[in-house]
């Protein structure tokens, strides 16, 4: 049978897998985009906030398990509970990181916060590792299984229940965030601070508070995504944030950095491109390029899109008026 | 032949017509002013000549060459220089370096000369440096060459911007509100300066300004824009008497000259 024909059969399945991955990217990308939108700097440590959230969320689940409650609990409640705790911890960590490592360098040259963030990223990775190792003797965690059902959505499309939860929860968070930023005056204040911090102060805006709020939200979302990630894929290590962070950041740029809907679109597209690219590259190129080229494909598409739309999919070119 | 010739120039932003089929021309060695209410399209007019905005329709011809489709660097190559309404300096470069950037086109050293620092290149640099010092003292910034541009006060920055524009040895110099932020005395100095400039540098000057003293005092001709359209054109006297211009822009001249030069010691001298 023709290889392509075989692959066509699995398209629905790939679609659901790609979406699940894409939504995780999207939520993490939101954290990058929010901080970028306001401070114009790449919060390199955001992937570590994600990772931290994953650890906290997983630890909560493990705690429930070892206390023997998990089995009697509705898995939805357990998931929501662990997510909530993870969001609180990650959010708090995000604010702390901002206070300790970014605020002091806010008036420094543009790239300095970026380097500071790299430093924070190293520190967080090894700190989490140290704590986990001291606690468990090893530094990676495996999440307990929460959902076991598999739901048939369509022929050839059997989706694990947890994937549905992930997609649903991610959607919910995105909608909430979009509403917050567009309807609330704090949302506008974020944009004002982004453009001109000095003048924002003259308007009576407490710039540090606005920035802290941004970190709180971004990091909390990262923490939530971490928990979902850990539940979906089953295991997490202090170093899992890095690759995912790089992808999510790419997704944020893809969509138009600083734009919240852009980050979502970028994340989802990237997830789909990766999954479809990995499956179809081999067949389409007669085996010359296989799934190991999926990232090449993703980055190539990114570069092409940026060449033709230099401010990302949803970004508007900001024409200069002199 | 006119040095700068603009025909039917039009630019719209969304629903707004910022420049509406404007015809304009000026001769060499003239000083021409463009005036008009806020938002009339004056800066937009400059921006189109300098190649910042693509032209929607119409043509721009300079010295026989079409500028209509050119990018800013190509426009600069025809020796058209400008300043900006909101000052734009290279903030973190020194005052002298700001001007040296303006010399870019005048310097001929190739990359080989530069890497090897050949005598040819050194001589050129020395000449450039002398020219910088000359320009700086010309605009009254002598001694400031080693300061960072951002540390100058507003008025000093304006003058530096003009000096930088002069560095490209412009045939046409476009000044967007050069007297904004200057006090009347300084404005008067600026007026003298611009007049001198035309003769010393042998250049042609196109000026946007809201200060009528300045405009009336030095313009050969004046063009008035309102809502993107040219509503009047002529010598200062003609413009001053143009009813439409008075209504749209100048307003009724204030009966303001009542000062009687009273006693000088009225102020309490503190220091």
């Amino acid at each position: 049978m023709n290889q392509l024909q075989v692959l066509v059969k699995i398209i629905p399945q790939l679609l659901s897998d790609g979406l699940a991955l894409g939504f995780v990217y999207a939520i993490v990308a939101l954290g990058y985009t929010m901080v970028y939108g306001i401070l114009e700097f790449i919060n390199f440590a955001h992937s570590e906030l994600f990772m931290f959230g994953a650890f906290v969320g997983t630890e909560v689940l493990l705690l429930l398990k070892s206390a023997g409650i998990l089995a009697d609990m509705s898995p939805t409640v357990a998931l929501l509970l662990s997510m909530l705790v993870a969001m609180i911890f990650s959010g708090a960590l995000g604010v702390t990181v901002d206070r300790v490592a970014y605020r002091p360098v806010r008036s420094a040259p543009k790239l300095v916060p970026f380097i500071s963030a790299i430093g924070v990223s190293f520190i967080l990775q090894d700190l989490v590792r140290m704590v986990e190792e001291a606690k468990n003797g090893k530094f990676y965690l495996n999440a307990p299984t929460l959902f076991t059902n598999r739901i048939t959505l369509a022929p050839n499309m059997v989706v694990p229940e947890k994937t549905l939860y992930i997609v649903g929860l991610c959607l919910l968070m995105m909608v909430a965030l979009t509403l917050f930023v567009s309807k609330n005056k704090w949302g506008k204040a974020m944009r004002a601070v982004a453009q001109d911090r000095e003048t924002a102060r003259l308007m009576g805006i407490n710039v540090d508070k606005v920035i802290a709020l941004t970190f709180l939200i971004g990091a909390a979302l990262g923490g939530a995504a971490g928990t979902l990630f850990s539940v979906q894929y089953g295991s997490i290590s202090p170093y899992s944030g890095f690759v995912l962070g790089m992808k999510a950041f790419t997704a944020a740029v893809f969509g138009g950095i600083g734009k919240i809907p852009g980050a979502m679109l970028g994340g989802i597209l990237l997830g789909l491109i990766e999954v479809f690219g990995a499956s179809f590259l081999g067949a389409l190129t007669g085996g010359v390029f296989g799934s190991e080229y999926k990232d090449v494909l993703a980055f190539a598409i990114l570069i092409l899109i940026l060449i033709f739309k230099p401010s990302g999919l949803l970004g508007k070119p900001v024409g200069e008026k002199v | 032949m006119a040095l700068l010739e603009v025909k039917g120039l039009t630019k719209t932003f969304g629903g707004l017509t910022a420049i509406n089929s404007v015809d304009f021309s000026m001769e060499e060695h003239q000083i021409v002013s463009v005036i008009g209410p806020n938002g009339a399209g004056k800066t937009t007019f400059f921006n189109m000549i300098s190649g910042y905005y693509p032209v929607d329709s119409g043509t721009i011809t300079f010295d026989g060459h079409s500028l209509t489709k050119l990018t800013p660097e190509k426009v600069a190559a025809y020796r058209i220089a400008r300043t900006f309404q909101n000052i734009r300096l290279f903030q973190n470069m020194l005052v002298a370096e700001n001007i040296l950037v303006g010399f870019y086109m005048n310097l001929k050293a190739g990359i080989g000369d530069i890497i090897l620092r050949l005598p040819r290149m050194r001589a050129e640099e020395r000449a450039a440096y002398d020219k910088v010092m000359e320009l700086l003292s010309y605009v009254g910034l002598a001694g400031k060459e080693g300061e960072l541009a951002k540390n100058l006060s507003y008025g000093q920055q304006r003058r530096l911007e003009i000096a930088r524009a002069l560095a490209i040895a412009p045939k046409l110099l476009m000044l967007d509100e050069p007297a904004a932020g200057l006090n009347p005395r300084e404005t008067e100095e600026m007026k003298q300066f611009i007049l001198r400039l035309r003769d010393d540098m042998n250049t042609t000057i196109l000026l946007i300004e809201h200060d009528m003293k300045l405009v009336m005092g030095l313009s050969d001709r004046i063009t008035v824009l309102n809502y993107g359209e040219k509503i009047a054109e002529g010598t200062p006297e003609e413009i001053r008497g143009n009813e439409q211009v008075v209504r749209a822009y100048l307003g009724v001249e204030e009966a303001d000259d009542e000062e009687d030069g009273g006693d000088a010691a009225a102020g309490e001298v503190l220091a």
């Binding site: 506008k188 204040a189 944009r191 004002a192 982004a194 453009q195 001109d196 000095e198 003048t199 924002a200 102060r201 003259l202 308007m203 009576g204 805006i205 407490n206 710039v207 900001v318 024409g319 008026k321 | 932003f13 008009g36 209410p37 806020n38 938002g39 004056k42 800066t43 937009t44 309404q85 909101n86 000052i87 540390n151 006060s153 507003y154 008025g155 000093q156 509100e177 904004a180 932020g181 006090n183 009347p184 005395r185 300084e186 809201h210 009528m212 822009y249 100048l250 307003g251 204030e254 303001d256 000062e259 030069g261 006693d263 000088a264 009225a266 102020g267 309490e268 001298v269 503190l270 220091a271």
Partner: protein, 237 residues
């Protein structure tokens, strides 16, 4: 409470090593219009920035309504009723006209008041109303200046600091601005004005101060200064 609204006492301000203000002492009384004049680089803008707490004085203090505000963070100074129309307009370029105005009203929680303020600003500058959805950065210079003034008014200030409000405005609008300054003052706003158009400014001012290389050299009523030879020679042209 005395009738002195704002007092600077021996204020010294630095930019790094540059000593921009030297022992500045002056006061603004409640209900006054006071003008600062001085040539380029004299330190006028620096003075206003020090008052609105964008800069912290290295010596001396700024007293506002009896309280020292030299170390109060800038965003809280606004809450005390001081609004600053900054030099160079400082519009938020990517926000619309309306959003820029909303930012000015950031600390006003009363929605009805806010609506009134919008009306007042729009009445003062109808152009802003026409353009309320345009992005601030694409406005013309003069339109931006209107927006900057309107934005400051949105915070319902008791003390308004204006840094060259007439800069870049067409002659008719300049007239309008000075008329509005008088009007605002009649409505109860105390105004500290920095202007290059010294003649017009001093004419509407109760008092004025002359600043020279960071120090105050002359003071008097608006009328007195207008007649002062030094002032006429140096600033009135």
């Amino acid at each position: 409470m005395s009738d002195v609204m704002l007092a600077l006492e021996n204020v010294n301000t630095f930019y790094g090593k540059i000593h921009a203000l030297r022992d500045i002492t002056f006061e603004v009384k409640r209900g006054e219009i006071v003008t600062l004049i001085g040539s380029n680089g004299a330190g006028k803008s620096t003075t206003l920035r020090t008052i609105s707490s964008q800069l912290t004085p290295a010596g001396g203090r700024v007293v506002y309504q009896g309280g020292v505000i030299s170390k109060t963070p800038a965003h809280e100074v606004v809450g005390l009723g001081i609004a600053h129309v900054p030099e160079g307009r400082k519009i938020f370029p990517a926000l619309t006209v309306e959003e820029n105005l909303q930012m000015g009203a950031f600390r006003i929680r009363d929605a009805r008041r806010n609506a009134e303020n919008f009306e007042r600003v729009y009445a003062l500058f109808p152009r802003l109303k026409e353009r309320y959805r345009q992005r601030g950065g694409t406005l013309s210079g003069g339109e931006q200046q209107m927006l900057a003034i309107g934005r400051a008014l949105m915070s319902m200030p008791k003390l308004l600091l204006m840094d060259e409000p007439s800069m870049g405005l067409a002659p008719m609008l300049v007239e309008l601005i000075f008329q509005s300054i008088v009007q605002l003052n009649r409505d109860g706003i105390t105004i500290l004005l920095v202007e290059q158009n010294a003649k017009k400014a001093l004419k509407v001012s109760h008092r004025g101060y002359v600043l020279q290389t960071g120090a105050i050299t002359l003071t008097g009523t608006g009328r007195e200064l207008l007649r002062n030879d030094t002032v006429r020679e140096a600033y009135l042209g």
